[in-house]
């Protein structure tokens, strides 16, 4: 997330002085930038993002709403110990990791493939119509998506009619991950291809023309012109998704859960919700959530390092 100012000539260069005095003078001259432009975002961020970070202390105490955050009895790492040593811990962690890693492996290449294919559709009118269809599922809500999935897979539903069976897929723990990942690709792959499509259309037309005149076949064109055009986007997308491995969407997992497929559908996010808000075990739930966040941050940093090393030092 570096911010580069290179493309952008400095506006009021020459007027600025360095040092504290210069900064104060600048702030006085440009007070509107701070008070009017930045303030609303800053206030929202402090209240709704930073204050809850203070609430993480709950993870280390037996939180009592009446006694408040600072006067509740401290328990140290007891909640973490309880979670890490519980028999369910490994299963929830494994479910979370499997769901997102398999989701990433299956789901990540599809939008890239779609973008390459779309890029080969010569007629702009047809391309637009295809895109219209491809993007459509993105505008369907998670609830409706899961509703459609449940309809298609229901005991009397079309899939069973087609197969001539009467299986209840929604109750099978072994089917949950496939359902989750396949419906994710159905919904998100088209929309996910936008970035790559845009990057491909930014690829230099001249370069492509030169390649064509040189007699490059499609594979060579992809290798020499198209892949370099989207490589940076692919790398960053990959880091971002790999860094989000622990934050599998709660909303969809919860909506696809049934009492019987819990063995593979209970992930950390749904567990945090149930423990915290349904059972009221605030301290424990916060500890589990914090554990999840910390792993996530570590993963993000690690993936970024690895990718940067493979990609000539270019990471996030």
């Amino acid at each position: 997330m570096k911010t580069s100012a290179k493309a952008h000539p400095p506006w009021r260069s020459g007027k600025e002085k360095g040092g504290v005095q210069g900064t104060l003078l600048y702030m006085k001259q440009h007070w509107q930038l701070y008070v009017i432009f930045l303030m609303p975002a800053l206030i929202l961020t402090i209240i709704f993002k930073y204050i809850p970070m203070g609430g993480i202390l709950i993870a280390f105490e037996n939180y009592n709403p009446i006694r408040g955050l600072l006067d509740s009895p401290w328990v140290g790492f007891a909640h973490f110990k309880r979670f890490l040593s519980s028999p369910d811990f490994m299963s929830y962690l494994a479910n979370t990791l499997k769901l997102s890693i398999f989701g990433l492996l299956w789901g990540f290449p599809v939008p890239i493939l779609l973008a390459f294919l779309l890029n080969r559709v010569a007629r702009a009118g047809i391309k637009r119509k295809i895109q219209l269809v491809l993007y459509m599922p993105n505008f369907i809500s998670v609830i409706v998506l899961c509703g459609i999935v449940r309809i298609l897979l229901s005991v009397t539903g079309p899939l069973n009619m087609l197969l001539g069976t009467s299986a209840d897929f929604m109750t099978m723990p072994e089917a949950f991950r496939s359902i989750y990942i396949a419906s994710g690709i159905w919904q998100g792959a088209g929309w996910g291809s936008i970035m790559y499509t845009a990057a491909l259309s930014n690829a230099s037309a001249e370069l492509k023309e030169a390649a064509i005149i040189d007699g490059a076949n499609i594979f060579q064109q992809i290798k020499a012109v198209e892949w370099p055009a989207i490589k940076d986007v692919v790398v960053i997308q990959f880091i971002m998704s790999a860094g989000n491995i622990m934050s599998v969407g709660f909303e969809k997992a919860y909506a696809l859960q049934t009492d019987l497929n819990m063995r593979s559908s209970e992930i950390i996010a749904t567990y945090v919700y149930k423990k915290g808000l349904l059972d009221g075990d605030y301290g424990f739930s916060t500890a589990v959530g914090l554990f999840n966040t910390v792993i996530n941050v570590i993963l993000l940093v690690a993936v970024n390092k690895v990718v940067a090393r493979m990609n000539e030092g270019k990471g996030l």
Partner: protein, 298 residues
């Protein structure tokens, strides 16, 4: 471009292209079929639907399911709430985000690096569910619209997108405004924003769709059924199999009720998804303009 006409694909390339088109076609079909199935299914008679599936025998089609869905007050309440929440959220969110992105886009802005760190940290680290929930509770926002509208109103990712877009605007605009003596506010509202319509449209659509389609915040913060947005109502019907009792109570047997409840899901899906699906093609022209790519490179 005329040169393209002289280019001939080799046999190998033609085969490759054909495979590609077939793949793309299959994907399109795979997207459309479930939608068509639900649309057709929503016109079936409940018993036929359960026993034989969908038919294209139009004489057997009925609109019973739609009549029942439309006559259900809870769906209308959900619709109304969803519209209110989504509009309020979109307006606040886009406004705050566009405002904040402006100083963050200026290379001369003092404290830019500091504020950037402050904002970006929140993309990767947060207090989590319970601390946020307790905060909302303590602020007295539970069971009010603000609980779902305010916490996510400032979106760092969108700020980065807007910032990158501003940076692509030629700086001559700014210099001209400086010469005219326009202050920051005047420049921002009268000169900068009008040339940023594409990014504003994309961000607005995005936030609107996001709020319209989400259910988690409403699920945990809004207990009052009169305040619940559409998705929470849908959840009861589609996921929990609990249709509003008024929708099926006139049926005699449990079996009939179950069949009708199943049919109602089809119609509910169509009715609730139609507004966005009709609206989004009008925004399509903005999607491919590379707005998001800019943010990735930023």
């Amino acid at each position: 471009m005329t040169k393209k006409k002289f280019y001939r694909y080799s046999l190998q390339d033609k085969a490759l292209l054909l495979t590609g088109y077939i793949l793309l076609g299959l994907f399109v079909v795979a997207i459309i079929i479930p939608m068509i199935y639900v649309i057709v299914g929503s016109f079936m008679d409940p018993i036929t639907l359960q026993n034989k599936g969908i038919t294209f025998d139009f004489s057997k089609w009925t609109t019973t399911a739609y009549e029942r869905v439309f006559s259900n007050p809870q769906i209308w309440i959900g619709f109304k709430n969803a519209v209110v929440y989504s509009v309020v959220f979109t307006v606040i969110s886009v406004f705050v985000t566009l405002l904040a992105a402006y100083p963050m886009s200026r290379p001369d802005f003092k404290g830019r690096g500091f504020f950037n760190v402050i904002f970006v940290i929140t993309m990767f680290f947060g207090g989590g569910l319970i601390p946020t929930y307790l905060l909302i509770n303590n602020l007295g926002m539970k069971n009010t619209m603000w609980a779902i509208v305010l916490p996510g109103a400032f979106n760092v990712w969108n700020m980065i997108i807007a910032r990158t877009y501003y940076q692509g605007i030629p700086s001559e605009l700014r210099e001209a405004a400086d010469v005219d003596g326009a202050n920051e506010m005047r420049f921002f509202f009268m000169i900068l924003l009008p040339v940023c319509t594409p990014v504003i449209a994309v961000l607005a659509l995005w936030q609107f769709v996001g709020m319209w389609n989400s259910y988690f915040d409403a699920l945990i913060y809004l207990d009052d059924t009169a305040k619940q947005p559409l998705q929470v109502v849908l959840r009861a019907i589609l996921i929990q199999n609990k249709p509003e009792s008024g929708m099926i109570s006139d049926m005699q047997s449990t079996a009939e009720r179950a069949q009708l409840a199943e049919l109602l899901k089809y119609a509910t899906i169509i009715v609730s998804s139609l507004p966005l699906l009709v609206m989004y093609p009008f925004f399509q022209k903005y999607f491919d303009s590379g707005i998001m790519v800019g943010s990735v490179k930023g």
